[in-house]
């Protein structure tokens, strides 16, 4: 770990204090996990950026966090004495929470009790010995990162901007330094929201608890009425999802929902779509397909529109979150701050790399196929080789490699 410590120390010694800027630093609790021990050091606060920088230089963090909350006394240890004044609204999008096929290739879990192991999303309890002692090794993968990025864009483009009325320039995006992104909304309007209020926001973007009737889907005198595809909010989203599903789905897909009646939809497809386009709320639905079946189709159709966020992060009004421009101790990558406009072209495996001096000889225990910058590696096992510094640090941080002799 010495090489990691040295690298991180170098990073924090050379950092420009202004890169550590966060809104209202003096009201935030700062927390870190040091190199020496696993224990988190909490309840520290700083009046200005220079004193923070000096502190980090002398107490190099493996992981660095700050509170989403604003406190009157951020250094108080007792939560009540901290005097909560508000908190940023935060969304956490992480590949860990999004099911992807490639996880079977690069994520491995391992039972500390009986040595059973497997790939992909880890089970809660070991399937063999039923113990809850599962250890996981996860890897950054381009596909997972892309999916996470798409999820962020969906959240912003479909929810935060049009529905919640948040200007895209008021949205701060941070690459987590690992497999996800944090979206920070620091607007005054949202700071005072209670945990309950935040839950409603989280449920809104996850589509939890939707009642289709409330959005205008109902049967009146044998005629189906639904929301208009031009409607804002969930109304329009429901209508558009249904429209898209009807226009694209195959008979096999429809059969899963409708059984034999799928044929009815396929034969009348044009007419249904036309009715939604032309009449707005008066949907043409073939006789024999009831409101229950339509609701079923809608439920399937809107799945694509739901945001895969870790709702606990959004609901928690006292969350510790990664510090922008700090380093992630499991990867050595920088927690990059991004604006909406440069998210698209952001390549974490290039743009978040900070250690770029030369190459280092390492002994690799086991890695799947991975990439760092333009260097590709793996899958390999038990090999000594020389790799670029960024990759060496990444692998050592992961515990998958050691310094080679």
């Amino acid at each position: 770990m010495n090489i990691i410590f040295q690298a991180f120390k170098r990073y924090y010694s050379n950092i420009n204090p202004s890169d550590l800027h966060i809104i209202e630093l003096e009201k935030r609790e700062i927390a870190l996990i040091p190199f020496k021990e696993e224990r988190m050091i909490r309840h520290i606060s700083f009046k200005d950026l220079t004193s923070l920088k000096n502190y980090l230089e002398n107490n190099v963090p493996l992981h660095l966090y700050y509170s989403s909350a604003y406190y009157g006394n951020p250094q108080a240890e007792d939560m009540n004495a901290k005097c909560w004044e508000g908190a940023d609204l935060i969304f956490d999008v992480d590949a860990d929470h999004i099911p992807t096929d490639c996880k079977n290739l690069h994520d491995k879990w391992f039972c500390l009790n009986c040595n059973e192991y497997g790939f992909g999303v880890p089970p809660e309890d070991c399937p063999k010995c039923k113990q809850r002692k599962i250890d996981v090794t996860t890897w950054i993968c381009e596909k997972c990162l892309d999916i996470a990025k798409e999820e962020v864009l969906k959240l912003i483009d479909e929810y935060l901007v049009p529905d919640f009325g948040i200007n895209s320039k008021d949205i701060e995006i941070c690459f987590s330094g690992h497999r996800g992104y944090h979206i920070h909304i620091q607007l005054e309007d949202f700071r005072k929201l209670s945990g309950d209020g935040r839950r409603e926001i989280a449920d809104y973007v996850r589509g939890i608890g939707i009642d289709l009737r409330a959005h205008g889907l109902r049967l009146i005198n044998g005629i189906v009425f639904g929301p208009d595809i031009r409607d804002p909010g969930w109304r329009g989203r429901i209508a558009r999802a249904f429209y898209e599903y009807i226009s694209k789905s195959s008979i096999e897909e429809l059969e899963k929902i409708l059984g034999k009646k799928a044929e009815l939809i396929i034969s009348k497809r044009e007419k249904i779509l036309d009715s939604m386009m032309m009449n707005g709320t008066k949907w043409f639905i073939p006789k024999g397909i009831g409101i229950k079946k339509i609701s079923k189709i809608v439920e399937v159709a809107i799945k694509r529109n739901l945001c895969n966020i870790d709702e606990r992060v959004t609901i928690d009004i006292k969350r510790l979150i990664r510090y922008p421009n700090s380093l992630h101790g499991k990867t050595g990558l920088k927690v990059c701050r991004l604006s909406y406009s440069n998210l698209n072209k952001f390549d974490p495996l290039k743009d978040a790399v900070v250690f770029k001096s030369g190459s280092i000889k390492i002994y690799v225990k086991e890695v799947p196929k991975i990439r760092m910058e333009d260097y590709e590696l793996g899958p390999i096992k038990n090999e000594v080789l020389e790799v670029p510094e960024s990759l060496a640090i990444y692998l050592i941080c992961k515990g998958a490699a050691e310094m080679g002799k």
């Binding site: 049009p162 529905d163 919640f164 009325g165 948040i166 309007d189 949202f190 005072k192 929201l193 209670s194 309950d196 209020g197 839950r199 409603e200 926001i201 449920d203 809104y204 589509g207 939890i208 608890g209 939707i210 009642d211 409330a214 959005h215 205008g216 929301p227 409607d231 804002p232 909010g233 969930w234 109304r235």
Partner: protein, 336 residues
């Protein structure tokens, strides 16, 4: 424009507060006997609140109406009895809800602005009547448990939530209730003392509170000693008029139904709950009893579930042997 009559109808308005301030009265001033009319009206308001009844506005003497409201509230706070404050807050909520539902839309906009700083706007789209900023909506709406109050079931666009008039009335009236309850925690209110001369006049009110609460306490449940601690704890809260969560309510109701209490008995027992809503309560109890909608009779959640929702409290030695509160009851009833 908010008229004097509006202030009498909606005494929580900030305009009403400044109107009252003009009179420059303090609690001590009411000792003199000069304001008996106001005092009597205030006592009447308290009495109605205790009995859970709405007292209609008397528009013939608006100043008395306005001042007596402030006095009644001050007395409720001064008695240092949270139960009566909750009753009062509840009745105010119900009263405001009824009045607001019938109010003109323009007036509601003014009320929301002056009372809570909310920025309602008229809207006429997809059957909605108003829009309001998302953050203001979320101050109150999450307090309602039903699915129809979830944000996801509203039309939300450009930072605004679209909402029907009836729901605005519900939201505003709930805000009224919360305002009354919150004030109880203010230092100034905590320090408030009722002068001797006024305290004497509260004798009947205090008696009424006691008898009212006793009636509720008499409605005991069979085999009291066999009730598990988790259920007793919730029942205690109910008896004290404390608000209890939806889950707690469900648990108690299902439990009591399962040990043989009737819908009627449970209904009477719940009457004491601060935010008691007769129709809703009856519906819920019947529903849980399996009389409405589905035929299934509900059983209370098992210990594991109660533990994870923080309702398992004061566990005793019998708890170790059981996985379900009903099992606890069965075991202990035999021994009694």
């Amino acid at each position: 424009m908010l008229t004097i009559e509006d202030l009498a109808k909606y005494p929580f308005l900030n305009k009403a507060t400044s109107y009252i301030a003009q009179f420059g009265l303090t609690l001590d001033d009411f000792s003199s006997g000069e304001f008996n009319k106001i005092i009597d009206r205030a006592l009447m308001k308290l009495k109605y609140a205790i009995e859970g009844k709405i007292l209609r506005i008397d528009s013939s003497e608006l100043d008395i109406e306005i001042l007596s409201h402030a006095l009644a509230l001050a007395l409720a706070y001064g008695m240092k009895n949270a139960w009566i404050v909750r009753r009062f807050a509840n009745i105010e909520q119900k009263k405001c809800y009824e009045l607001m539902k019938a109010e003109e839309s323009k007036k509601l906009i003014e009320i929301a602005k002056d009372g809570f700083g909310w920025n309602l706007e008229l809207a006429d789209i997809n059957g909605y009547d108003f829009s309001m900023p998302l953050n203001q909506f979320l101050q109150i709406a999450p307090k309602f448990q039903s699915q129809s109050w979830k944000l996801v079931n509203f039309m939300v666009s450009n930072g605004k939530v679209y909402i029907k008039k009836e729901k605005i009335a519900r939201l505003l009236s709930e805000a009224v209730k919360i305002k009354i309850l919150k004030k109880m925690e203010e230092e100034e209110v905590k320090r408030m003392k009722i002068p001797e001369e006024l305290a004497i006049k509260l004798k009947d009110i205090k008696k009424l509170i006691r008898s009212r609460r006793e009636i509720m306490e008499e409605r005991e449940v069979p085999k009291e000693g066999a009730i598990p601690p988790c259920i007793s704890a919730i029942m205690k809260d109910v008896k004290e008029g404390k608000p209890v969560s939806h889950m707690a309510r469900f648990t108690v109701t299902a439990f009591l139904l399962n040990i043989g209490m009737s819908v009627e008995e449970i209904f009477n027992f719940f009457k004491n709950i601060a935010d008691f809503d007769e129709n809703k309560a009856l519906y819920q109890i019947r529903h849980i009893a399996g009389m409405i909608g589905s035929k299934t009779k509900y059983i209370p959640p098992k210990c594991e579930v109660l533990k994870s929702s923080g309702l398992c409290i004061n566990q005793d030695k019998y708890c170790e042997k059981v996985k379900h509160p009903l099992q606890y009851y069965k075991i202990r009833r035999k021994g009694l």
